[in-house]
């Protein structure tokens, strides 16, 4: 049972920022190469889920960790408030169709988990409904892993209350960050504890495990995530497909019929 209050939001003391940054650059490069092979192979997929409180660095992680991945082959989707059409369907309807095809990396910035987080915290659904949805989420993620060679990685962006406030304030004070400001985010901070409880439920009741990422320091956040993505892709071991002798002979036959 994970208890978020017991887990640090920072790197342990003595961790060298400079070392970590050098390592991260290397990891990000490796992720780029592995993504290329994944795309060329087209037999496996990767779904990356980023969840966390407002200002916990989901956008930044998406930008940095996948910066060497191809635009073709890597998609990121930010889930917003559902449209009225989406609301008229079950909560997985809009999510399912965004699952990655084989060969692809799909990044979810927020995800199907919102439907047992924001909806629960505001009491738009009761606990019985939360359980129904949790079961549906487990079934969906298991389907991807067991039936479509899709590895599912879920990251909880673990930020401290103080750091969150600082970052939200910066969106007001720094004109370059004004565009990220939403007045409603400040209202939501009042529900900090309720959100944490809802996250703990989701994390503790998931079949596919989560990684709790300490995100108070951006450099340590990127390192933690990049390490897991790199290790996972390496383990998936995507292979560039090769032509057989037969394939090559087939081409030669066609080439002979081509007038120059």
């Amino acid at each position: 049972m994970i208890k978020l209050s017991k887990i640090p939001t920072k790197a342990s003391k003595g961790t060298s920022k400079d070392d970590i940054k050098i390592k991260t650059t290397k990891l990000v490069q490796e992720i780029g190469h592995l993504q290329h092979a994944l795309y060329a192979e087209s037999k496996q997929a990767l779904l990356v889920v980023f969840q966390g409180m407002d200002a916990s660095g989901k956008d930044g992680a998406t930008k940095n960790v996948f910066s060497k991945c191809g635009t073709i082959g890597t998609d990121a989707y930010g889930f917003k408030r559902p449209t009225s059409e989406e609301f008229a369907h079950d909560f997985l309807w809009r999510v399912h169709k965004l699952s990655p095809a084989k060969g692809f990396i799909q990044i979810f910035n927020r995800s199907h988990y919102e439907d047992i987080l924001i909806q629960r915290v505001h009491n738009w659904i009761d606990n019985k409904q939360v359980k129904v949805r949790m079961d549906a989420i487990n079934a969906y993620e298991t389907l991807l892993e067991k039936d479509n060679n899709t590895k599912v990685l879920k990251f909880y962006m673990h930020i401290s209350k103080e750091r969150q406030r600082e970052k939200l304030q910066k969106r007001i004070d720094d004109p370059k960050k004004n565009w990220k400001h939403k007045t409603g985010d400040w209202e939501e901070t009042k529900l900090w504890l309720e959100y944490r409880k809802a996250y703990e439920y989701a994390i503790n009741n998931s079949i596919i495990p989560w990684t709790i990422v300490p995100v108070d320091q951006r450099w340590y956040r990127d390192f933690t995530i990049a390490t897991i993505i790199r290790d996972t892709l390496k383990n998936m071991n995507p292979q560039l497909p090769l032509l057989t002798e037969e394939d090559k002979q087939a081409v030669i036959k066609i080439q002979e019929t081509i007038k120059t």
Copy 2:
């Protein structure tokens, strides 16, 4: 009237590769900054269409020119043979829904033009139908530009026959490129002249103009495309939205109600 045989597929003699590469790096960086502003602003969009013969470097251009753009905010879609569901609809049905939302850059690797290229060259449609489709394409692109603040940039990747053959052969000879090989591409090379005629028709009958990109040299290709993308984005002049004094006062009121 554009006649492709009169247009060079290479940089003019004396163009310095080293100079061009330095300039391209700078352009690509600028495109990254401008894309960030476009996304933050969320009032305008950019649709980039890459069309060209097999092995003309559409993938490479996508990868290189947009390498500093955010994964969120930049999407690339490669059009393949339509599914049976797609075939059962008009040819723009699958295309229209992929148009970029405001704030986004959408890259089409192949596009709606295939429906007056491959389909025409193989005589799957007659000239009357080609005209109907060309009109529909013009209407669609005009709609995006005039009614949804979407700038449409179309690049014809102009490769020489010799260079195409070399590149297709490399896909057979270099194991790292084997995954890109399709035997059918060699069959299509027999239709070189027919394709060129079909491209000339599309280019000469488009309302929104094309850029003919000399692509025999990869470095010159990337430079040509990056220059136009940078100039276009700069001209669109996306602005980071700023908070007003009123916005700031509204937050302060909420902050006063938050217990720490």
